[in-house]
């Protein structure tokens, strides 16, 4: 069980003693995704659903070698072993009051992003909050070959369309990813997934020019309704600078933090998809 009792204990303390202690989360120094690493720790601590979506790294200035036996930073970058350029990152936040408060969760995650942007890491991410308990950390900027920072439209912003019918959740997720890959001319493949849940649950889902992220949320919420309120799935869309593929990973959030009734309607994320400019890094799967 990954969940700690920090948030619950903190809630008890806050309610009864009116004290507020701070918690510091530190990214694994070896992990070149410090923001994802800390967001994952927040998920483990508090059961929050924080998805994470990367975009491409298009400029070698944003890369570094990260393999034992290789000198970091001083060596010329070898693309076959490169990772994103990064520094370990710390995030400190105040323990939260009980009961669960979505506004406090959003405030804390917003603070995480703010602190991250002020660190010396690649400042390309933003956060969007949607539905009843989703927060999405998304890469919205990248650096072009000339060193200019330019907007990047997250791949799951891509509008997709397919007819409504009952399908296996696994089929729905792959359908979403394939449409996105086709529309954006990028390679997307499956990483680590909750295999059995995706196989066993059937959902009745369609999409009509909706963002891939919204459709994904609809599918996962439908699965949650069928199984249990605790079956909350989050995803991580990692861009691999080596293979130049996106890897879609997902897992069931551990623990039984019931933060919202599973029957509540989940409004789609507010997004305005825009056409993606051609990018030589991208290729179709």
């Amino acid at each position: 069980m990954k969940l700690s009792l920090t948030c619950l204990f903190a809630s008890f303390v806050m309610a009864h003693v009116a004290l507020s202690a701070s918690i510091t989360l530190t990214s694994d120094p070896a992990d070149p995704r410090p923001l994802q690493n800390v967001a994952q720790q927040l998920e483990n601590q508090c059961g929050w659903r924080i998805t994470y979506e990367e975009g491409p790294i298009s400029n070698e200035e944003d890369l570094q070698n990260n393999v034992p036996g290789f000198l970091k930073k001083s060596d010329p970058v070898s693309l076959s072993i490169a990772t994103r350029k990064y520094l370990p990152f710390k995030f400190t936040f105040n323990e939260l009051a009980s009961p669960y408060d979505r506004a406090a969760e959003i405030k804390t995650i917003d603070a995480l992003l703010q602190d991250y942007k002020e660190s010396d890491n690649l400042p390309y991410f933003a956060v969007r909050h949607s539905g009843n308990d989703y927060s999405h950390i998304v890469q919205v900027l990248t650096k072009d070959e000339n060193g200019n920072i330019i907007p990047f439209q997250p791949v799951l912003d891509t509008p997709i369309t397919f007819p409504k019918e009952t399908r296996q959740l696994d089929t729905v997720v792959k359908l979403i990813l394939r449409q996105v890959a086709q529309e954006r001319n990028v390679g997307i493949t499956e990483g680590t997934l909750p295999t059995m849940l995706f196989r066993q649950v059937q959902v009745e889902i369609g999409a009509n020019n909706e963002s891939a992220r919204s459709v994904l949320i609809k599918a996962l919420d439908a699965a949650q309704l069928q199984r249990s309120a605790d079956t909350r799935v989050m995803w991580q869309m990692n861009y691999d600078v080596l293979s130049k593929y996106y890897y879609f990973n997902a897992h069931i959030i551990a623990g039984s933090f019931k933060r919202w009734p599973a029957t509540e309607a989940v409004p789609p994320a507010v997004q305005t998809p825009v056409p993606h400019p051609a990018n030589a890094w991208f290729r179709q799967k």
Binding site: M1, K2, D28, A30, D31, P32, R33, N66, V67, P68, G69, S80, I81, T83, R84, D170, K174, T189, E190, G191, T192, L193, P194, T195, M196, L197, F198, R199, Q200, R227, S228, T231, Q236, N238, Y239, D240, L242, S243, Y245, Y246, Y247, N249, H251, I252, A254
Partner: protein, 243 residues
């Protein structure tokens, strides 16, 4: 009064239990000579009926009842399970490196089977992912993946799919070698099996080590093959990254 064995009709769930008074009634007391209890077991976990009836028969030929009562017995839990590697691999797109396994519940001490019950997998604690290294785009795999199965007439359940996606296996094959990291690499995930005790919201773990509580799931990625194991039973197949 005492009663020993009694049976439940397997088709309808109906039962009838007759208890005899072991001693003659004491003077001045009116004690039933026999008490007949009838009912139907309809619960999903086969241990209770919503309504049963008790009828008491007296020496003078009169009777009392039938009176409605609720009867329940302790929920049966299988003492364990075995695993069978079916020797087959999923053929669905994107899943061809996932081996197929079956679980076989042991009968309870009285021989009861568990058909119609639901078994569920959970993570009692985190596993170890010996394939993942920092920076890999494939996320660590340290927990079970949300399986739930109906127990079939032969006391078994399937299919438990165990394995990485082909693209994840291919990634580790190619990039671990590229980064100078060892192959084979092994992922171990603990799987605690539980069986429902009421509906599909209440579950209890059953069995012992590698017989349900807790099974060891292992995924081994080599340079030219993949292997999946469940509680010591394994399937392997040739698999090689194609650039």
């Amino acid at each position: 009064m005492t009663a020993s064995d009694w049976s439940i009709d397997p088709a309808s769930g109906a039962f009838s239990l007759t208890a005899q008074s072991p001693t003659a009634p004491e003077p001045g007391c009116t004690v039933a000579q026999t008490v007949v209890t009838t009912g139907t077991v309809v619960s999903p976990v086969c241990n209770a009926g919503p309504v049963s009836y008790i009828t008491s028969h007296y020496a003078d030929g009169s009777q009392a009842g039938p009176d409605a009562v609720n009867l329940a017995s302790p929920v049966n839990i299988p003492p364990g399970e075995s695993s069978t590697a079916l020797g087959t691999w999923d053929t669905a797109d994107g899943n061809t490196t996932q081996a197929e396994f079956q679980g076989n519940l042991f009968n309870a001490a009285q021989g009861e089977q568990f058909r119609g019950r639901v078994v569920n997998e959970t993570s009692p604690f985190g596993g170890t992912d010996g394939c993942h290294s920092p920076g890999d785009p494939v996320a660590e795999l340290t927990q079970i993946t949300g399986g739930r199965w109906w127990v079939q007439n032969n006391n078994s359940y399937k299919t438990d799919y165990i394995g990485l996606s082909p693209s994840s296996a291919a990634y580790y094959q190619y990039y671990r070698a590229k980064k100078g990291l060892a192959l084979p690499c092994i992922i171990t995930v603990p799987q605690q099996m539980q069986i429902n005790t009421s509906g599909t919201s209440s579950f209890l773990p059953y069995g012992s080590t590698n017989q349900g509580n807790t099974n060891s799931l292992q995924l081994t990625i080599d340079g030219t093959s993949v292997k999946s194991s469940r509680a010591g039973q394994s399937s392997s197949k040739a698999f090689r990254f194609q650039q």
